[in-house]
């Protein structure tokens, strides 16, 4: 029976999937950034134009979208710091897997806190 080859450092494991996640969240954030600079630029058109368009961000569906966007940003931020550690810390490559689980743990904690606060503000009655 041929056995499966021993895993490489990255392929098919935590390292590879964090790389995939970093790419996807990066692209999502970049396209939002383009839109966000355009919508903010409306302050230069008129106060009414800005307030009307920004009002589109204030409905329950968008509140979920914002939470998803912040989830992408927080993952990209924490995993980016992990990448820096892999590149610059002597033992970074050795502990890259453990660091990914730390990233995911911090990400869950941050997102639970953010979601409670943001959704209660955005979906609240006042």
């Amino acid at each position: 029976m041929p056995t499966k080859p021993a895993g490489t450092l990255y392929r098919g494991r935590e390292g590879m999937w964090s790389w995939v996640g970093h790419r996807i969240t990066g692209v999502v954030i970049f396209f939002f950034l383009l839109v966000h600079v355009l919508d903010t630029s409306l302050v230069r058109v008129s106060p009414e134009a800005y307030t009307a368009v920004i009002g589109a961000y204030k409905n329950p569906l968008m509140a979920l979208g914002e939470t998803g966007l912040v989830a992408a940003i927080v993952f990209h931020a924490f995993n980016g710091l992990r990448i820096i550690a892999v590149d610059f810390w002597k033992k970074g490559a050795k502990y890259q897997r453990q660091m990914l689980w730390a990233v995911l743990g911090l990400w869950v904690v941050t997102m639970v806190a953010f979601s409670i606060r943001h959704l209660s503000l955005a979906l609240g009655s006042h």
Binding site: R23, G26, V27, I29, F30, L33, L34, V37, L38, T40, S41, V43, R44, S46, P47, E48, Y50, T51, I54, Y57, K58, A63, E66, V70, I73, A77, G80, L81, I83, I84, D87, F88, F114, R117, H118, L121, A122, G124, H126
Partner: protein
């Protein structure tokens, strides 16, 4: 006797095996370093941005023209947002450039995609910079000044 193999990029390898073509210099290394340096700064800038705009006070419900005007009446937030705009756009553009290089196999496709990307980057950076610096937080609409604690009476 054993042969000595020079380590890659030691500068002592035969020219045909050099990784950079010479004319590009070490642009890719600078880009790699920029991603890490700008990344650290962006974590601080964007987390601060999200905290102040979404988590303090009324959160997103408080965001309107007056909210933006109040922030940009202060040079601190003008500089904060300017740094965030430039660093995020350059960081994101370099990331998308890498993705285009990875997945677009035809030379012409790559060139077109990067032309579109760089055009969008220039437009967004110039537009955002102009908006931050030419913005008037106290506009007079139909002869009536908008109310705002930061505006002169």
């Amino acid at each position: 006797m054993s042969a000595t193999i020079e380590s890659p990029r030691s500068g002592r390898i035969a020219p045909q095996y050099r990784r950079n073509g010479g004319s590009r210099g070490n642009f890719e290394m600078i880009a790699w370093l920029f991603m890490r340096l700008s990344g650290v700064v962006l974590v601080v800038l964007i987390f601060g941005h999200l905290f102040v705009n979404l988590l303090v006070g009324e959160g997103i419900k408080a965001i309107d023209f007056g909210f933006v005007a109040g922030k940009w009446a202060d040079p601190f937030w003008q500089f904060w947002d300017l740094a965030m705009l430039w660093l995020a756009m350059l960081h994101g553009t370099n990331g998308v450039r890498t993705i285009i290089n990875d997945y677009a196999e035809k030379d012409t496709t790559r060139r077109w995609l990067k032309t579109v990307l760089y055009s969008a980057t220039v437009v967004i950076i110039v537009l955002g910079t102009l908006v931050i610096f030419t913005f008037d937080p106290c506009p007079v609409v139909d002869g009536v000044p908008l109310p705002g604690g930061f505006c002169p009476a």
